[in-house]
Point group: C2
Chain length 329, copies 2
């Protein structure tokens, strides 16, 4: 295993310490590293809290700040944070209007966030993200997995919360956003979990995993390496079939790198995706390209499509100031 680390059991703590020091104008590390919260809270605003296993950086801590999350709870690599972390985070950021948890659909996360909702002293609700069309259930999830679409949910709800939307309104909007997003990924290499020390799965020199999950979970099939155009066509075709034709022809296109794929390839994939969508009669009205929901050092990417209505587009375009996403401020 080749990584820039000191020891496997201090990776998370040292990385978080670096992250919070580098972005001390925006975020504060909570007691015992249980959470990362916004440096400046906004009284009366519903607090948005997310979290999950580490290894997907910048998700979630990179999206803490004005116009997005109020706090993020990092578990160890690919391991759910505990209800204790979520309650500590909620206590730190709930200014009286309640807390909405944004949860990716994995069994550990669902169980622990459900427990946090039950144990909350104030009002608390949750939104479950399950945007991955690759498989209907997986190693760690009953039902579809939550993947890169999570950042779209966090951005849109973050702007709505900033604009004063109340807790039930945010939950309802969140569920509409989840219903409007589809994602699918492909891996050219496995990730390596630091504590394990070897690749999660083995891929031949000429193979790729089509439909891979963000923890290296199996996808649909192991196939020969294909061209960018063929990969884009298969992933987008699957999403379009799933979403159905009545959804409209204007989409947000997110090309998300898994951690070890350079920008040059991500932009090439964006080009391939855009060409394919055009051939199917769709227009890309919003775009985002970069490493946003990663899988440690996995090579590969995911594509996400979002059929956003006017309200969602307004929130997507609203100012945001976080370590990993910044628009208009």
């Amino acid at each position: 295993m080749k990584k820039l680390i000191n020891a496997v059991d201090t990776v998370l703590a040292e990385s978080l310490a670096g992250f919070c020091a580098a972005h001390a104008d925006l975020v504060v590390l909570g007691e015992a590293g249980k959470y990362i919260r916004r440096a400046g809270l906004k009284p009366g605003k519903v607090a948005l809290v997310s979290g999950g296993g580490a290894g997907h950086e910048p998700l979630h801590a990179g999206f803490v700040g004005h116009g997005m999350l109020d706090a993020a709870c990092p578990g160890q690599v690919f391991t759910s944070p505990t209800p204790d972390q979520m309650l500590a985070a909620s206590e730190a950021v709930d200014t009286g209007a309640g807390v909405l948890y944004i949860v990716k659909n994995y069994e550990g996360d669902v169980m622990n966030f459900d427990m946090a909702v039950e144990m909350a002293s104030g009002e608390a609700l949750s939104v479950l993200v399950h945007d991955d069309v690759a498989v209907e259930a997986s190693t760690f999830s009953a039902g579809r997995r939550g993947v890169a679409g999570t950042l779209v949910v966090e951005k849109i709800l973050g702007a709505a919360a900033e604009a004063g939307m109340d807790l039930p309104g945010l939950k309802a909007l969140g569920e509409r956003v989840v219903a409007a997003i589809r994602s699918m990924g492909v891996a050219l290499s496995s990730c390596t979990v630091p504590a394990v020390g070897k690749p999660t799965f083995e891929l031949g020199e000429d193979e790729m995993e089509m439909g891979v999950g963000i923890h290296g979970e199996p996808g649909r099939r192991r196939v020969k390496l294909a061209s960018a155009d063929a990969i884009a066509a298969e992933m987008l075709g699957t999403m379009l079939d799933d979403r159905g034709g009545a959804a409209g022809n204007e989409v947000l296109l997110l090309v998300n790198g898994f951690g070890a794929t350079p920008a040059m390839e991500l932009y090439l994939m964006y080009h391939a995706a855009r060409q394919y969508l055009q051939s199917r009669g769709l227009t890309v009205v919003r775009s985002l390209v970069g490493n946003y929901v990663t899988s440690l050092d996995m090579a590969g990417c995911s594509l996400s499509l979002g059929w956003l209505d006017e309200e969602m587009l307004g929130h997507w375009d609203a100012p945001v100031h976080t370590p990993a996403l910044r628009v208009g401020m």
Copy 2:
């Protein structure tokens, strides 16, 4: 070779097409892909033009926009752009106040930009960046190589040009910034040039290349994989020795990923670097962590230190709106 591409000879063109489509609000692709220029020019402002071989994305095209570059000329992967490209770019963005070329110190780039300066119809000057302390000369360079410090030069000169500084003033400021920056890199894996199809160099399972260049050029020595703390200490110690003690105790710290290293490790390296600097009595007053000057799919990172004076800090903090760097707008 595993890459998200269609064919080796269309990688650059397709990636640029994707890049310019994804950022159509900010940049425009020049005729025949010779350059990428700002969508909106500012009459009377000195035009800043940079460029170099592709494969270092987001450098340089990712830094085209308000407060940074006016145009970037991409060569093929790791190959200098031609004087023809530089002249076409200059013609497209020179609004009468002249052009400053920002050039990384590699023989091909230096030769071609020098030719462009000579052939320019308007006023043209250049600034040469040579911030890499690892080696005094290398495969492609006489003298020190220009590496990640280039982005610091582009940011500071971009803000100064935006504020109305004239051409001789920008050249003088640029040379002062170059003198204030030191960088050094380490590779955990080789990059693979698409047209070559195999790794540029071979590294053992337990080896790293200390002092590597951004094209995979040899560094100082091939050594056993070391801890993040030890790597930070060696790279920063070399820079501090080179810079000398009289330079002051306040520094900008840039942790730059080479393309295949995830944010989790980059922030851990930032933490290690910050701790080391503290132990040497230095304070980090500005920070940047991310993939900015990459080497295709190389795993590893570089550290850069900048001893910026008040004027430079003001320009570093000024608003910027480019595809890869955005502050305050």
